[in-house]
């Protein structure tokens, strides 16, 4: 929550909202966020959003492989070497467990990263600027900057309407 005024441009079509974002970016309007009921992949491009999630997952997987191997080596070779059917203690078949547990650590920590980066937790109270963005509306949120007066705000309102917004609202959520 903040006291700053926000403009909410409400749209009801994914293509129209994408074009509107394009138009706003062209006019150097700073878009705070776009809320939508499903992912709009072109909007990510237009807002130049990037995620480093794949790198994180790779690191989790690599750490998983290494730590599982270390554990297997320690238990089966260092701590209590037992010979099964004359097979070597440091066995090639460790690969099976390393494979499975690499996946486990990748999945679990990727999810944890998502929750931490998005600051999500069970029961978090997260008021939406417009709750219809969970149903069938697409909402562009533009924050009033310090250097923006009412005149600038009205211009943005106009721009949104020209580009197909079905409603333009103000909110401070």
């Amino acid at each position: 929550m903040n006291n700053q005024n926000q403009i909410l441009g409400v749209f009801d079509d994914p293509d129209v909202v994408t074009d509107a974002v394009k138009e706003l970016v062209k006019h150097d309007v700073k878009i705070k966020d776009v809320f939508s009921p499903f992912p709009l992949e072109h909007v990510w491009d237009l807002l130049k959003l990037k995620t480093r999630m794949p790198y994180a997952t790779f690191i989790y997987g690599a750490l998983g492989t290494a730590s599982v191997f270390a554990f297997l080596y320690w238990t089966s070779v260092t701590d209590y070497p037992l010979t099964f059917g004359g097979k070597p203690h440091n066995s090639l078949s460790f690969v099976v467990l390393m494979f499975v547990l690499t996946i486990l650590s990748g999945v679990v920590f990727t999810l944890a990263t998502l929750l931490i980066r998005e600051k999500m937790w069970p029961g978090k109270n997260n008021p939406l600027p417009d709750h219809r963005s969970m149903d069938d509306k697409f909402v562009i949120v533009i924050e009033q900057g310090r250097d923006m007066d009412d005149n600038d705000m009205n211009k943005i309102d106009e721009l949104l309407k020209q580009n197909g917004a079905v409603e333009v609202n103000r909110s401070n959520v």
């Binding site: 809320f35 709009l40 999630m53 467990l97 547990l101 999500m120 939406l128 069938d136």
Partner: protein, 460 residues
């Protein structure tokens, strides 16, 4: 790679986004639970209670209450375990393989298939537990510092891999399923008028907001989790197959087992998805979401997989003959195709390799009643396959003096029926309280232009 035009519209009836929200959330926001739900739940609970009796009997008396003997030391427990694990491959095979392959027609079915996975794998997990007899010592399978040496598990044993692979599979499938539901929980949270439901679904939704940055991270994480889980489908059932193939029992000791088991698992999983979705689309009137085209696509996959199964059966017989090993020859030519358990072998061949070939005919593919019956027959056939593998091989091995027949006792049947009850009850609770179709994903494919095609910049 993927041409959206190839399958035409995925959701029929010109739905608006609001229609999708309404259609999927209405059944779970309804105040009244339908009577068919209560009747089925009552039946499932009765089955489950009988299963609890089976558990109680086994725990208090021991595995002596089962029909096992020194020769057939693996009976219904392992058959049903493998059967359930096979069905449990549906969700991931369906949801994740098709996700990775950009097959958008998965969208209205993936959520239910994933739910099936969770409950089927949980049902499967009960069998190794109860097979221990002394279930309270179950924690021995985990590698933990102990006072026995410390003596660690045998990390080179397929049985230990099994424990790891299945718990990993259950965890990963559950997390993937849950992550996919978070945006839908948020949709329900915003839609419901009941304060209690709002609070509950808010907790479940983790405060999801659906911002552009949020969606970007969500999509990236979901695809990474899916991509990582996909190889698990192969590994889990390969490891289950290794439980058999690493044993020097005639009929088991064969390198064809891992791929053969994986294909069989996908086969039974897809068949179970078909069974479930035919019921769901009828009961919930979702014919516009799970269209005839969807059913058609699944039956085509089944036809193909059935051919692979047929080839596997033939090559098993061929290799037995070609090996010239008298024991292998005995298993296939004296003990499976003919003999005491021949009925189960021919049931397997008929239901898995022959009956699904009827799907070549368009008339049969488009007749929902026949498709439904065949989907059930396939799962019966897959059950017989595991029966053939386990019982025929073990009942007559190397020494004729150790030969022993096998038939299940009431306790074993009770445990099996109990897991079926557990599975049905789980699915019923899922249908009543959780979004049974991925709302946000359905909206994403509703309009052709909102589907990302190959020529757009790739974010995955």
């Amino acid at each position: 790679m993927y041409n959206i035009k190839a399958r035409g519209v995925l959701i029929e009836g010109n739905k608006s986004y609001h229609d999708i929200t309404r259609d999927v959330t209405n059944p779970l926001l309804a105040k009244k639970t339908p009577s068919w739900w209560w009747i089925t739940a009552f039946l499932a609970t009765s089955m489950l209670i009988w299963g609890v009796w089976g558990f109680y009997n086994t725990i208090t008396v021991g595995t002596g209450t089962w029909g096992l003997n020194n020769s057939v030391s693996w009976g219904w427990a392992i058959i049903n375990f493998v059967w359930w694990i096979g069905i449990g491959h549906a969700g991931t095979a369906f949801s994740i393989f098709l996700l990775v392959l950009h097959q958008k027609w998965r969208t209205s079915i993936n959520r239910a298939a994933e739910a099936m996975t969770i409950f089927a794998v949980m049902a499967a997990g009960m069998f190794p537990l109860i097979h221990m007899g002394r279930i309270w010592n179950g924690f021995f399978v985990f590698p933990y510092p102990n006072t026995r040496g410390p003596l660690w598990d045998n990390f080179n044993s397929p049985l230990f891999w099994d424990v790891t692979a299945i718990s990993t599979y259950l965890t990963a499938s559950f997390l993937f399923w849950y992550v996919g539901m978070m945006p839908d929980f948020a949709t329900i949270r915003e839609r419901t008028t009941s304060k209690i439901k709002k609070a509950v679904y808010n907790v479940l939704s983790f405060g999801w907001a659906g911002s552009a940055r949020g969606w970007l991270r969500f999509e990236s994480a979901a695809l990474l989790m899916g991509g990582l889980t996909a190889p698990l489908v192969i590994s889990v059932h390969s490891i289950v197959a290794t439980d058999f193939a690493a044993g020097v029992v005639p009929g088991w000791h064969s390198t064809i087992f891992p791929p053969f088991f994986v294909v069989g698992a996908i086969f039974s999983g897809f068949a179970m998805v078909l069974t479930l979705m035919i019921i769901v689309r009828k009961v919930y009137k979702y014919e516009q979401y799970v269209t005839k085209k969807h059913l058609d696509a699944i039956t085509r996959v089944l036809t193909f997989v059935s051919l692979i199964m047929g080839v596997a059966y033939i090559s098993e017989i061929f290799v037995a003959w070609y090996s010239d090993s008298p024991y292998e020859m005995f298993v296939f030519f004296k003990n499976r195709t003919v003999g005491e358990y021949a009925y189960s072998y021919w049931a397997m061949i008929t239901f898995n390799a022959i009956v699904p070939q009827l799907f070549w005919f368009k008339k049969i593919r488009s007749n929902v009643a026949i498709v439904f019956i065949i989907s059930i027959l396939i799962n019966i056939g897959m059950w017989y396959e595991r029966f053939v593998i386990v019982v025929t091989s073990l009942s007559k091995t190397w020494l004729p003096s150790t030969w022993h027949g096998y038939s299940p006792t009431a306790t074993e049947i009770a445990i099996y029926v109990g897991t079926i009850g557990f599975f049905i009850l789980g699915i019923l609770l899922f249908l009543r309280f959780l979004p049974m179709m991925a709302i946000s994903e359905l909206k994403g494919i509703n309009k052709e232009t909102s589907i990302v095609t190959e020529n757009t910049e790739n974010h995955e």
